[in-house]
Symmetry: C2
Subunit: 329 residues, 2 copies
């Protein structure tokens, strides 16, 4: 279940977010009825629209020119959606947000193409802003996302990873698009350059925290809240911050370390063993420590957002930051 978000920021921004959704639905109207329905379903499933929200808020404190902001926000959300579609193909995920993924109903060929099609549509939206800087940020964000995912793939199944490796990975995978969204919003709003930079930092730190929380939730929560089984990252050999922090507490030769290693390397693919490791991580301080690391990012994000002079907007940026940290799904 997706928990109802706090009223204030969403209540205030809902009409503008609705315009983003309308824009997305226009894009989803493709010529192939079957495909069109599928694309609409993905777009409507849509989660919390946090990236569009960040983009709109970053512009809100300045020249709040809603039309190009909505266009860019729809582009960012669609880029995110396209990347999820390919990601699910890669993971062969059967569920996302508790719903069947495209992979479970279409051939992976069709899913690759649909993902590409969504990338194309998102690029058309970015281009429609008419701002070459915005398009440049958009394209770089996509490159960063791919970099993060390639990094994750080439570092999978290995426990010998540094915190820096992890941070680079989640920057690419998640924070880059939050950073880009905030930067685009500020640029379209014609914010002064140092505000653009500060809002980019806000987005980046927010995104880092968001992904760390995601990685904690993957271990802490189960199918009911996430719509996917717990320990999914471990099952795929993806080593996240909580797992790293847990591993660091284990003596090198211990049975616990050996068990963790066998799960991460994929030597042991037994579900019971995975459940044991998940339970051991939950029993350790690793989840709390990871949340503390996320909280540090959120503090930095808020510090960066302090540059925004409009009280209302600044308060909402803070609220989104708190929301990212406090969510349980």
């Amino acid at each position: 279940m997706v928990q109802a978000p706090p009223r204030t920021v969403f209540a205030a921004m809902q009409p503008d977010l609705d315009r983003v959704s309308e824009r997305l639905e226009m894009v989803a109207a493709v010529d192939y009825p079957m495909v069109s329905t599928l694309v609409l379903d993905i777009v409507r499933a849509g989660g919390k629209r946090l990236r569009p929200l960040v983009l709109l808020l970053a512009g809100r404190g300045y020249d709040y020119d809603l039309d190009p902001l909505v266009t860019a926000a729809a582009g960012v959300e669609l880029l995110h959606t396209a990347s999820l579609v390919h990601d699910d193909t890669i993971d062969r995920a059967a569920l996302r947000r508790g719903k069947p993924t495209l992979n479970s109903v279409l051939s992976s060929n069709a899913v690759i193409l649909l993902g590409d099609y969504l990338f194309a549509q998102s690029a058309i939206l970015a281009a429609a802003t008419g701002d070459p800087r915005v398009v440049g940020i958009f394209a770089s964000s996509l490159a960063d996302i791919c970099d993060g995912q390639l990094h994750e793939m080439f570092h999978a199944h290995r426990l010998d990873q540094s915190r820096q490796d992890y941070e680079r990975r989640i920057y690419g995978k998640t924070a880059a698009l939050f950073a880009g969204a905030a930067e685009m919003g500020a640029i379209i709003g014609k914010a002064p350059d140092h505000h653009v930079a500060a809002l980019r930092s806000y987005g980046s730190d927010l995104g880092m925290a968001f992904q760390i929380v995601d990685d904690v939730l993957d271990l802490r929560e189960g199918t009911q809240k996430l719509g996917k089984p717990a320990g999914n990252d471990l099952r795929q050999g993806t080593v996240t911050l909580p797992t790293m922090l847990y591993a660091a507490t284990l003596p090198a030769g211990s049975a616990e370390f050996a068990m963790l290693e066998s799960v991460v390397t994929g030597e042991d693919v037994d579900d019971d063993r995975l459940a044991e490791v998940v339970a051991a991580i939950r029993a350790s301080s690793a989840l709390d420590d990871a949340i503390a690391a996320a909280a540090e990012y959120i503090d930095r994000a808020k510090e960066a957002a302090s540059v925004v002079e409009d009280d209302d907007t600044r308060r909402m940026l803070f609220e989104v930051a708190d929301l990212a940290l406090g969510r349980d799904s």
Copy 2:
């Protein structure tokens, strides 16, 4: 074997095409040594660089500002490469241009991501031109490519297709990017609007002819010239113009029609049966008739290119058109 192209246009344009290749190699320098080598290999395999050539030539008759033209040309070639990478994943092709594809050495997951990475890099190049119109054309070309490929996928294994279906498909799959390349070149060259439109038509008609010739070659030539077995399209259930023209000559209830149908629908996946159908198509007038259709597109392309006042450039545009029609690989 790739046949040596006629000297003149390539001799004249080689230095500029070399700059495009340099630009492409810079982009291929990724952070992961293994990936970097693979990307460099794909980029260097590179074929004839016809799309960059068309883009450069479209600008050449006007304000030939080489730097943005080279940037856009590299972007177009990389977009094409990215789309080939995903296409090979979808077709599970083992060979392209006689070389092993990425699929034969990497997991399909890694290949999807590498394709996405190349899309991102191509979009960065398009954005680097700093021209929102160019970026818009770029993004639309990608959407058209996906549309063409989705159309191909959803129309596979069916003989009941109209010539219009086929044309829409090859426009998306191939002609859209040639059209976009010519249009971008003309825009960057600051050609007058009606020249931009004429050069776009040139690119579009050239691309249509190029794909029809490709479809003929798939049936006419074998592994030696193409680096892939003959009748590959039929094997995948893709009905191309020569197959349509051949089918139109067969009486509805005939054994030949039934055999063709069983191969196209995928009911009969026997290699000998496929070879029989390929031989029957070769023995018919279908290949010649398809080439005649391509020749009509080439005539129209040349007519459109007549608008170019610079003699040298116009001659080269004509030469490229003749080259597309006359090639045998």
